[in-house]
C-alpha cells in the first residue's frame, strides 16, 4: 500500500529525514517510536504534504501512485488520513458541515454523487454510535473549545466517517487520560480491517497495549534504526531510548 | 481672541518676523532655514483642524508666550538640586539648565564607554554627522521643525561600540525663565553596535516668572545589536508645558525600550513618540503611564513603523484621569509591505475617576503585509465594582479598596521598570497623585 524509499526531507534547509525506508501492506499496523526530535511527526507531515517540508530525495508510492506528486487534498481523497497531534480549531465552521463537505469532496473525486442529506445523517449516527462520539459535539464549531481529548476523539470520528485506506496517527495518545485513551483505541480497533493500514506514531508504549502493532520501528535522527515486532516496544519501554543512541553512535561511520 | 491681557505682542504672532534675527549667526543655518520653511508650509502652529491635534489645542499656550531668548544663566546649588526630589542613586548625574549642560553639577560616564557632549560641540563627531537631523519623521511634526529652526543646545550621547555603560545616565532638565519663554532643547543619542545604555530623563522648573513651553526633540538611534532603555519621567511644576518629540530609528537586532511616565502638574504634556524599525529582528517595548489632574491635558501620540520583516513591538499605555483633566491617546501601528512576520501589540487602558474628566483614544492599525499578528485593544472604565465588592467583603474600607485597585492598575506598568530606584520614585510620585484622587 505504502512504499517509502530513501526519503529525505528538510525544513528551512535543515535536514530532518535522512533516508527513511518503510513498506506498509494492507491489513498491517506499524508503530513508529523514537525520542523527541527524532523526526516522527515530521514523517507524518511529509506524508500528508505539509508545505513547509521539502522532500530532498527519495520516493513514496501510495497504492502504486506517486504520493509526493499530489496536493494534500488529493492525498486525502486517495485515502490517506492524518490524525493530527494538535487538531486545529476553526471558529464558526460547524463540525457537521465540515464533515459533509469532506465526505462529498472525496466522493466527487471518485466519481460518486454527493451523499443525500438523509443518507449522510444515517451514516453519521451509526458512526457516532460505533465510535462512542458525543453527538453534541457535532453541532459545535470545528474543535473550538474542545478539550484535548475531545479533539482527538473528533479526529478518530472523522477517520471513521472518511474510511481511509491508510491512517497515520501522530501522537494521538499525547495529552489523553486513560479513559480517553481507551475510547480512542477501541475506536481504532473497530476500524481495523484487512483492507486498511495504520501507522501509529507514539513516544510511549502505553498506546500499543491497546492497539497492538504488527511491526515496531524506531526512528532516530531521521532514520529508522531498528525494526521488530511488538516486543521491541516493550524493550524500549523498559530501557528508554538512551541505550539505542549508544548503539547507533557506535554504528555511525567515522567521518 | 488673545488670551493674555497685555499689549506685549505674543510669540505666536511675531515668530515669522523673528526668524532671521533670532537665528543670525547660529550653527546649522541651512537646516534651520529649511525647517522653518517646512514649519510654515505645514501651516505654522497646528490648530485642532489638524487631525493629529484634533483634541489638543496648543494655540492658547503659544499666544501667551513672548520670547525665544534664553535668560542669562544662573548658578544652581546642590541644595536646589536636592529640593527637586528627583535625584537617583547609582547614576551618572547630568544636569542641564534650559538645555545647556552644567558640567560643575554633572558626572559623565568614562570616555571609553560613552561620549557626552553639548550638541554645540558635537558637530565634528562622526556619529553626529551620520545621524543629526536625519529622522524621516521630523518632517511630519510641526514642533520638530520649530525645534530644528530654533534649538539652542542639548546633549549628544554616543554609547561606544560593544560598551556596556555601567550606570544609567540620569539627565535632569532644569528650566528657568524671566518671562514667558519657548525653549527648544535638542538631543541626539546613538547606541553604537553592540552597545548597551540606559538613559533617564527628569524635569523640574526653577522659580521664574511666567510660563514656559519646552519643545524638545530627541533623536535616538540604536545600531546593530545595541540596546537602549529610555525613561522619560515627566515631572515638574505647573509653570512648565511640554511638547516632546522622541524619534527613534532602530537597526537590525537592536532593542529599544521606552518608559514615558507623566506625573506632573504641567497643564499641557504632548508626547510624540515615533519608532521606525528599519531593519530585521528588532524589538521594541513602549510603556506609558499618565495621571492627569486639575485642568491638565496629557496627550500621547505614538507610532511604530514596521518597515522590515521579523520585528516585534509591544506597547502598553495606561492612564488615570481625574478632576477636569483630559487624556488623549493615539497609537499607530504601521506595517509596511515588506514587513512580513511582524508581531505588533498595543493596549491602552484608561481609568476615569471623576465626572468631568475626558478621554479620547484612537488606536490605529495600518497593515499592508499579510503574514502578521497584530492587535490592539483599548478600554475606558472605572474601578471594577465586582473587585471593589470583593475587597469590601474581606473587611477593607471603601477608600482603601479603591486606592488598592487604582494602584494595582498603575503598578502593572511601573513593575516593568528595570531600575529599582526609578521604580521606587515613580511609584511614590504616582501614589501621591493617586491618593489625592481617591480620597476626594
Amino acid at each position: 500500500m505504502l512504499n517509502i524509499k530513501n526519503l529525505h526531507a528538510a525544513v528551512e534547509g535543515n535536514a530532518i529525514l535522512k533516508g527513511i525506508n518503510l513498506n506498509v501492506k494492507a491489513g498491517e499496523v506499524h508503530a513508529i517510536m523514537g525520542p523527541n526530535g527524532s523526526g516522527k511527526s515530521s514523517l507524518a507531515s511529509v506524508l500528508a504534504g505539509r508545505e513547509a517540508y521539502e522532500v530532498t530525495d527519495g520516493s513514496v508510492e501510495f497504492e502504486g501512485k506517486d504520493l509526493l506528486d499530489m496536493s494534500p487534498e488529493v492525498r486525502a481523497r486517495e485515502g490517506l488520513f492524518l490524525a493530527f497531534q494538535y487538531p486545529v480549531e476553526i471558529p464558526g465552521v460547524s463540525n457537521i458541515n465540515f464533515l459533509k463537505t469532506a465526505v462529498n469532496e472525496i466522493r466527487a473525486y471518485h466519481g460518486q454523487p454527493p451523499m443525500q442529506a438523509k443518507a449522510f445523517l444515517d451514516m453519521l449516527k451509526s458512526k457516532q454510535k460505533l465510535m462512542e462520539f458525543d453527538a453534541n459535539l457535532m453541532n459545535r464549531s470545528l474543535n473550538e473549545g474542545f478539550s484535548g481529548g475531545e479533539k482527538k476523539r473528533n479526529d478518530i470520528f472523522q477517520m471513521a466517517m472518511l474510511e481511509p485506506k491508510l491512517a497515520i496517527m501522530d501522537e494521538t495518545d499525547s495529552g489523553l487520560d486513560i479513559d480517553a485513551l481507551r475510547v480512542v483505541s477501541a475506536g481504532v480497533n473497530k476500524l481495523r480491517s484487512k483492507d486498511n493500514a495504520f501507522i501509529i506514531i507514539t513516544h510511549y508504549q502505553r498506546l500499543l497495549e491497546y492497539i497492538v502493532p504488527d511491526f515496531v520501528h524506531v526512528l532516530y535522527n531521521g532514520r529508522i534504526v531498528k525494526s521488530g515486532t511488538k516486543e521491541l516496544a516493550l524493550e524500549l519501554e523498559e530501557k528508554g531510548y538512551d541505550w539505542l543512541k549508544e548503539d547507533i553512535r557506535l554504528e555511525e561511520p567515522v567521518q | 481672541m488673545t488670551t493674555i491681557a497685555s499689549n506685549i505682542p505674543s510669540l505666536y504672532d511675531t515668530l515669522p518676523a523673528q526668524f532671521s534675527t533670532l537665528t543670525a549667526g547660529a550653527q546649522w543655518p541651512e537646516a534651520r532655514k529649511e525647517a522653518f520653511d517646512r514649519f510654515q508650509a505645514l501651516g505654522g502652529f497646528p490648530t485642532v483642524k489638524v487631525e493629529d491635534w484634533k483634541y489638543t489645542n496648543v494655540i492658547p499656550f503659544f499666544r501667551s508666550l513672548q520670547t525665544l531668548q534664553l535668560p542669562a544663566p544662573i548658578a544652581i546649588t546642590e541644595a536646589q538640586l536636592e529640593a527637586t526630589g528627583l535625584l537617583l542613586p547609582d547614576v551618572y548625574r547630568i544636569v542641564l539648565l534650559n538645555g545647556e549642560l552644567q558640567p560643575q553639577l554633572s558626572e559623565l560616564p568614562p570616555a571609553k564607554q560613552a561620549t557626552v557632549l553639548k550638541m554645540s560641540e558635537a558637530a565634528a563627531e562622526p556619529a553626529f554627522t551620520a545621524h543629526f537631523n536625519n529622522s524621516q519623521k521630523l518632517a511630519e511634526h510641526h514642533f520638530a521643525q520649530l525645534n530644528t529652526a530654533f534649538f539652542t543646545n542639548g546633549l549628544f550621547i554616543e554609547a561606544k561600540a560593544k560598551a556596556q555603560v555601567e550606570k544609567p545616565l540620569h539627565i535632569i532638565h532644569l528650566y528657568h525663565n524671566t518671562s514667558s519663554l519657548l525653549v527648544n532643547p535638542r538631543h541626539l543619542w546613538v547606541a553604537q553596535e553592540g552597545a548597551s545604555i540606559q538613559i533617564i530623563e527628569s524635569a523640574a522648573g526653577l522659580d521664574g516668572s511666567g510660563t514656559m513651553v519646552v519643545n524638545s526633540v530627541v533623536e535616538a538611534v540604536t545600531t546593530e545589536r545595541s540596546q537602549m532603555s529610555h525613561y522619560q519621567l515627566q515631572t515638574g511644576g505647573g509653570q512648565l508645558r511640554f511638547i516632546n518629540q522622541t524619534l527613534v530609528q532602530q537597526r537590525g537586532k537592536s532593542l529599544y525600550n521606552n518608559y514615558t511616565f507623566t506625573l506632573s502638574e504641567s497643564e499641557l504634556v504632548r508626547n510624540n513618540l515615533n519608532i521606525s524599525l528599519d531593519d530585521e529582528r528588532t524589538e521594541t517595548h513602549l510603556f506609558g503611564f499618565y495621571i492627569a489632574t486639575g485642568n491638565q491635558l496629557v496627550d500621547n501620540h505614538t507610532s511604530v513603523d514596521h518597515r522590515m520583516p521579523n520585528c516585534e513591538s509591544n506597547e502598553l499605555y495606561r492612564g488615570v484621569l481625574m478632576d477636569k483633566a483630559t487624556g488623549v491617546f493615539n497609537g499607530k501601528i504601521y506595517v509596511h509591505e515588506d514587513a512580513q512576520k511582524t508581531n505588533a501589540f498595543q493596549q491602552n487602558n484608561n481609568l476615569v475617576i471623576s465626572p468631568e474628566a475626558n478621554i479620547y483614544t484612537k488606536p490605529q492599525l495600518e497593515i499592508f503585509a499579510d503574514d502578521v499578528k497584530c492587535s490592539h485593544g483599548t478600554t475606558i472604565g472605572q474601578v471594577s465594582e465586582e473587585a471593589l465588592f470583593y475587597l469590601k467583603a474581606r473587611g477593607i474600607g471603601d477608600a482603601m479598596a479603591r486606592s488598592m485597585l487604582v494602584k494595582a492598575f498603575a503598578f502593572d506598568i511601573t513593575a516593568q521598570v528595570k531600575i529599582p530606584a526609578v521604580r521606587k520614585q515613580v511609584e511614590q510620585l504616582a501614589t501621591r497623585y493617586l491618593s489625592a484622587a481617591v480620597n476626594n
Binding site: A48, I106 | V352, C374, T378, T379
Partner: protein
C-alpha cells in the same frame, strides 16, 4: 427550495403597481447637475413646493461642501457633470435575449442560485424597469395596510403621506452632513418609506432590491423608516449592478427613527459591481446611513455584508438619545481585486444607560484594502453608557491591506468602553487541516472565511444569510494561489 429563491421568484412575478413607471422615453435627463435638473426631477414627481425648496437647499449645500480628505486611499475624481441624474426605467430591453448578456454576469447569478427566469430579470431583460432606481413593495400590501403599516416608494409617499414625510425627512441625516448626503437631497430619485404604527410588530421582512442598470447614471435613493412607539420592523436591502467599464456613483441616504420601545433591524447585502481585476469600472458606493433611537428603550441594529463596489464608503450609525436605548452594528466587508472598503459605524451615546455593540469583520484579498473607521462617543450626560467593539481583520495574500481607525471619545466617568482589534493572516494550519480531509484550498478558505464571519451572518434573516455566504465565496474566488 431555498428562501432567497422564493423571494426572487416573488419579485419576478409581481405586477408593477406604482405610478412612477410612466412614459419612459420622456424621463431621461441629459447628464449634468444644475438647478434646472433638480426642478425637472421635482416636477416629474409632481412634488410640493416645500420639497423642491428642500432639494434646492441641498444643492446649495452640495456646492459649498468640500470633498472629504481624511481617507487613507486615493479618492478618484468624480465628474458630477457627466452623470445623468434622472434615468427612469426603460421598457425597451437592454438585451434582446439572454445570449447577449455578459456570460460572466450570468455565471455569477448561477452561482447565486438564481434560476434562469430571475437571471433574465436581473440582467436587465424585459423587466429592467423594476429595479432601476425604484423601490419595490412586497406583494403583501393589503395585509400590511390592515395593520396600518405604510410601505411604499418615496415618490408615492410624497403624494400620499406628505405630513409624515415632512415631519421626519432630514431629521437624522442633516442636509449638510456631507457632500454626498447633500447631493442626495438635491437629486434623490426614489427609495422607500416605511412607517410602523404604535404597538405594531411588522409580521414580515420588508425588502428592497436595488439595482443600477442604465449607463452613466447615478443612483440616489432615500430610505426613511419610522418605527412608532412599541413597534418592530426588520428591513432588508440588497444591491446588484451589471458590469460596466466606467465607474458609476451610488449615493444613498438612509434614515431610521425609533420611538419609545421600538426596534428597527436593518440588513444590507451589498453586491454592487466591484470592477475588474485591474480596478476598471465598478460602483462608487458613498452612502450615508444613520438611525436615531429617539425614544426610551428603543433599539436600532445595522447588519451589513459588503462584498461589492469599487469603493465603499459608509458608516451606518446610531444616535442613542433615548435612555436605555441600544445600538448595534454587525459588519462583514470583503475587498478583493482592487476594491476599497472604508466602513464602520458611529455610536453616539447621549441618553442614560445606553448600550452599543460593534462587531466588524474585515476580509482583504488580492489587492483589496479594507478599513474599519468608527466613532464611539459618550456625551457628558450618558451615565452608565456601555460600548463593546470587536474589530477583526483577515488577510489573504500579501498585497492586500487592513486598517483600523477607531475614535473613542468619552466625557463621562461612568462610561465603560472596550475596543479590541486583531489582524492576522488566514491560518495556514487551518487550511492544511481541511486539505487533509480532502477539501481543496479554495473551498477551505471559503469555509474558514464563512466561519470567521458567522457572528455577523447569524444576524441576518435566513434568506439573506444564504445569499451572503455565497457572495463571500464568489468575491474571494481566485484569491487563493
Amino acid at each position: 427550495m431555498s428562501a432567497e429563491q422564493d423571494i426572487l421568484q416573488e419579485l419576478a412575478g409581481r405586477d408593477y403597481e406604482f405610478g412612477f413607471e410612466t412614459d419612459i422615453e420622456m424621463d431621461i435627463a441629459p447628464p449634468g447637475l444644475n438647478e434646472d435638473i433638480i426642478r425637472f426631477i421635482s416636477a416629474k414627481k409632481n412634488e410640493p413646493e416645500w420639497l423642491l425648496e428642500w432639494r434646492l437647499k441641498g444643492f446649495q449645500l452640495f456646492q459649498k461642501l468640500a470633498m472629504p480628505t481624511w481617507q487613507n486611499f486615493k479618492l478618484p475624481e468624480v465628474d458630477f457633470q457627466s452623470v445623468s441624474y434622472y434615468a427612469a426605467p426603460k421598457n425597451k430591453v437592454k438585451y434582446e435575449s439572454l445570449d447577449e448578456v455578459d456570460p460572466e454576469l450570468l455565471r455569477t447569478f448561477e452561482k447565486l442560485g438564481i434560476p434562469l427566469e430571475e437571471q433574465k430579470m436581473l440582467s436587465g431583460v424585459a423587466v429592467d424597469a423594476v429595479f432601476d432606481s425604484v423601490s419595490v413593495a412586497t406583494t403583501f400590501k393589503k395585509q400590511l395596510n390592515e395593520l396600518g403599516i405604510i410601505f411604499c416608494s418615496f415618490t408615492e409617499a410624497v403624494q400620499e403621506h406628505p405630513e409624515l414625510l415632512r415631519k421626519y425627512l432630514g431629521t437624522v441625516v442633516p442636509q449638510s452632513d456631507n457632500i454626498y448626503a447633500a447631493l442626495n437631497c438635491a437629486v434623490f430619485s426614489d427609495g422607500s418609506f416605511v412607517y410602523i404604527p404604535k404597538g405594531v410588530r411588522c409580521p414580515m421582512e420588508l425588502s428592497t432590491y436595488f439595482r443600477i442598470n442604465a449607463k452613466n447614471t447615478g443612483q440616489f435613493e432615500r430610505t426613511l423608516i419610522v418605527a412608532d412607539e412599541g413597534s418592530y420592523v426588520s428591513y432588508l436591502e440588497g444591491c446588484t449592478a451589471p458590469m460596466r467599464d466606467e465607474n458609476q456613483l451610488h449615493a444613498a441616504v438612509v434614515e431610521l427613527i425609533a420611538m419609545d420601545n421600538a426596534e428597527i433591524k436593518y440588513s444590507t447585502v451589498q453586491n454592487w459591481y466591484p470592477g475588474d481585476a485591474d480596478g476598471k469600472g465598478g460602483i462608487y458606493n458613498f452612502v450615508t446611513k444613520r438611525g436615531i433611537c429617539k425614544g426610551k428603550n428603543s433599539k436600532i441594529s445595522w447588519t451589513q455584508v459588503e462584498t461589492g463596489s469599487a469603493i465603499t464608503w459608509k458608516y451606518p450609525g446610531v444616535i442613542l438619545q433615548g435612555d436605555n436605548s441600544i445600538g448595534e452594528f454587525y459588519s462583514v466587508a470583503v475587498t478583493s481585486k482592487r476594491q476599497v472598503a472604508d466602513t464602520g459605524t458611529k455610536m453616539v451615546h447621549i441618553g442614560k444607560n445606553t448600550r452599543s455593540r460593534i462587531i466588524s469583520k474585515g476580509i482583504s484579498a488580492i489587492h483589496g484594502q479594507n478599513t474599519y473607521r468608527g466613532l464611539v462617543k459618550v456625551g457628558p450626560n450618558a451615565t452608565n453608557a456601555r460600548n463593546f467593539t470587536q474589530c477583526d481583520s483577515l488577510l489573504i495574500g500579501d498585497r492586500c491591506g487592513a486598517h483600523t481607525f477607531p475614535y473613542i471619545e468619552s466625557k463621562n466617568n461612568t462610561a465603560m468602553v472596550e475596543h479590541e482589534a486583531t489582524t492576522s493572516k488566514i491560518g495556514e494550519d487551518q487550511v492544511f487541516y481541511l486539505n487533509q480531509r480532502g477539501i481543496d484550498s479554495e473551498q477551505a478558505v471559503n469555509m474558514i472565511v464563512n466561519g470567521y464571519a458567522k457572528e455577523v451572518l447569524n444576524q441576518l434573516p435566513m434568506e439573506f444569510a444564504v445569499e451572503a455566504q455565497k457572495l463571500l465565496s464568489i468575491t474571494l474566488e481566485g484569491s487563493v494561489g
